[in-house]
């Protein structure tokens, strides 16, 4: 299986979007080599704005550009784009419903060695709580490419959560995506594994492992956390009656919470949330961290066995 980082897909997609639409502008806060906006910067220097280490100003500038018909993509690490500039995202972008795309990389534990200060584990929660905001978490490079293009076409604020490490490519180029519509990757009868971001490939691995034990699991990719695909979540819960959610995020406020909200109001079912258990991360390699914090296919299998 090929492995590509979603941030690399972002860099390439921006280049393509830039050639198609001259209203696409890109802002960064001194991290363009890491966020991969540097490729756009090279190709379209007049439409690239490095704002220096000032995320609040970057978000505000993007908002101003959007009022004049530009389609700004503003990038930084997820922790800074959402946390440092939260009030700016809230009042300058979401309240006036401006057409700004916040494409944030280095989300989650897989930032790795930089440690807790750089590992956004609450960004989905922060962005999900803002009216008018759409929240997208691609699972692989293919879905990142397609969803970023859809985000560029969509009119309104979008938060796109991207990662640092190379992750398995799950989707074929022919796969179709729609903002707000999840994807059933595998059908099953015994349990539903609803995942987002890099945890989708772990969920597929877990389903394969369970299959060997005679347990069939549904695997669902919720690439849009908001608006969330209620129908699909209710439907899978009806089929299996048991749900595991998996995310590289705090168990509070992210995918697990969103799924529980949908199910408790519509089709109460047992849910187990896999995620970071309300703690900060630390330094280490991405794989070591995922293992230590319980974000592995083995943990999903264990949770499934416990629920059956």
């Amino acid at each position: 299986m090929d492995k590509i980082a979603t941030r690399d897909a972002y860099g390439k997609t921006l280049l393509e979007l830039g050639s198609q639409n001259k209203d696409i502008v890109v802002l960064d806060a001194d991290l363009s080599k890491s966020t991969k906006t540097n490729e756009f910067a090279k190709a379209y220097p007049d439409r690239f704005f490095d704002m220096g280490i000032s995320e609040q100003d970057m978000i505000g500038t993007a908002a101003g550009l959007a009022t004049c018909g530009k389609i700004p993509f503003a990038s930084s690490f997820a922790v800074f784009a959402t946390g440092r500039a939260y009030d700016q995202v809230r009042d300058s972008i979401c309240y006036p419903n401006l057409n700004v795309k916040i494409a944030a990389t280095h989300a989650g534990l897989t930032v790795g060695e930089d440690g807790a200060t750089h590992q956004a584990l609450e960004d989905i929660s922060l962005m999900r709580g803002l009216p008018n905001m759409t929240v997208i978490v691609p699972a692989d490079a293919t879905s990142a490419t397609k969803l970023i293009k859809l985000a560029a076409e969509y009119k309104g604020p979008v938060y796109i959560r991207l990662g640092r490490p190379s992750v398995p490519v799950i989707y074929q180029d022919t796969q179709e995506f729609q903002i707000g519509k999840g994807i059933r990757l595998k059908e099953g009868r015994d349990i539903s594994i609803i995942a987002t971001g890099i945890m989708v490939s772990k969920a597929i691995e877990a389903a394969d492992m369970l299959q060997k034990e005679g347990i069939t699991a549904e695997v669902i990719d919720i690439h849009t956390i908001k608006p969330i695909d209620k129908e699909l979540i209710i439907d899978t819960a009806r089929r299996t009656g048991r749900v595991i959610t998996c995310e590289e995020h705090n168990i509070y406020g992210g995918l697990g919470s969103a799924v529980c909200e949908v199910l408790s109001e519509n089709y109460p079912a047992r849910v187990k949330r896999i995620g970071v258990k309300d703690t900060f991360g630390e330094s280490g390699t991405p794989d070591e961290l995922l293992k230590k914090y319980g974000l592995t296919s083995e943990e999903i299998v264990k949770a499934a066995r416990e629920m059956l």
């Binding site: 220096g52 505000g60 908002a63 550009l65 009022t67 004049c68 300058s92």
Partner: protein
């Protein structure tokens, strides 16, 4: 429009500020009265705007970074014809288009949503950059508060505007010296404010913010400065025009009662008669 006519409009705007805050029994009269002459010159002498087409893409833009000064902005917009005059009485009331702090999608003529201090200048920078990208010759104006200059984001934006040579941007600092908790100098000193802006790469002009001719001259001068943004530091008096409100910290965010409203309006009407 001559100076006398502009003074008359500014006085009417001041009357409206008092009426609006009285009707709402909330709002910010002090920092609205201090900016009344600035807004008057912007809307009735300088800015190229069209009340019949508020989102006209070639218009000059205004960002009220000190978003609490909605009374002066709405009064100017009503005077200019963006909103019906009688609507200003709905200010801050339920279902009104005139929110306590300005929202661009509610009120015609409001170019940017503000309210959380420190955010407006960055958005004005974005508009100025867009103007350059689109080869438009509109100008962007940002009205800042002096207490607002305590926000870090203002200085991020100050750096960016100079870095990107935004000479199509003019900031106007309503320097009335007071903030909610007291005088700037006691709460968090911002001086020497002109040196700070100059050090950040801006052209600075210092004026009496209640002198119509000085305001006009400064805005005209700003248009001639190339390669850098300009800030007009307008020394003003909080509560200007109403004797018992002038230089009183307490009138930052307090509405007048009936007696105070009547006294203020009587004073302003008398002032209007003196203008002639």
């Amino acid at each position: 429009m001559d100076t006398k006519e502009l003074e008359r409009i500014a006085n009417q705007i001041r009357i409206d500020i008092i009426e609006m805050t009285y009707e709402a029994q909330s709002g910010h009269p002090g920092g609205s009265l201090s900016a009344a002459d600035i807004l008057t010159v912007l809307y009735f002498k300088e800015m190229n705007v069209d009340p019949d087409n508020p989102r006209w893409e070639d218009r000059d833009r205004l960002v009220m970074s000190k978003g609490h000064a909605t009374p002066v902005w709405y009064a100017a917009l009503a005077e200019k014809g963006f909103i019906p005059r009688e609507e200003i009485k709905t200010f801050r009331k339920i279902n009104s288009r005139l929110q306590g702090h300005p929202n661009m999608n509610d009120t015609p003529g409001v170019d940017m949503t503000t309210g959380s201090l420190g955010q407006g200048l960055s958005t004005a920078n974005g508009m100025a950059i867009a103007g350059k990208l689109n080869n438009k010759d509109y100008r962007v104006y940002a009205v800042l508060g002096d207490g607002e200059c305590q926000e870090g984001q203002i200085w991020e934006a100050a750096m960016s505007a100079a870095h990107y040579k935004l000479d199509n941007l003019t900031a106007i600092l309503d320097h009335n010296g007071l903030q909610i908790d007291g005088p700037n100098k006691d709460i968090m000193n911002i001086e020497p404010i002109e040196d700070k802006w100059r050090a950040f790469g801006w052209h600075t002009i210092r004026i009496d913010g209640h002198n119509i001719e000085q305001i006009i001259d400064a805005i005209e001068e700003a248009k001639t400065i190339k390669g850098k943004p300009t800030i007009i530091i307008a020394d003003t008096i909080k509560g200007k025009g109403v004797s018992f409100m002038e230089n009183q910290v307490g009138w930052h965010g307090t509405a007048p009662n009936k007696e105070q409203m009547e006294k203020a309006i009587a004073e302003l009407k008398e002032r209007g008669e003196r203008i002639g």
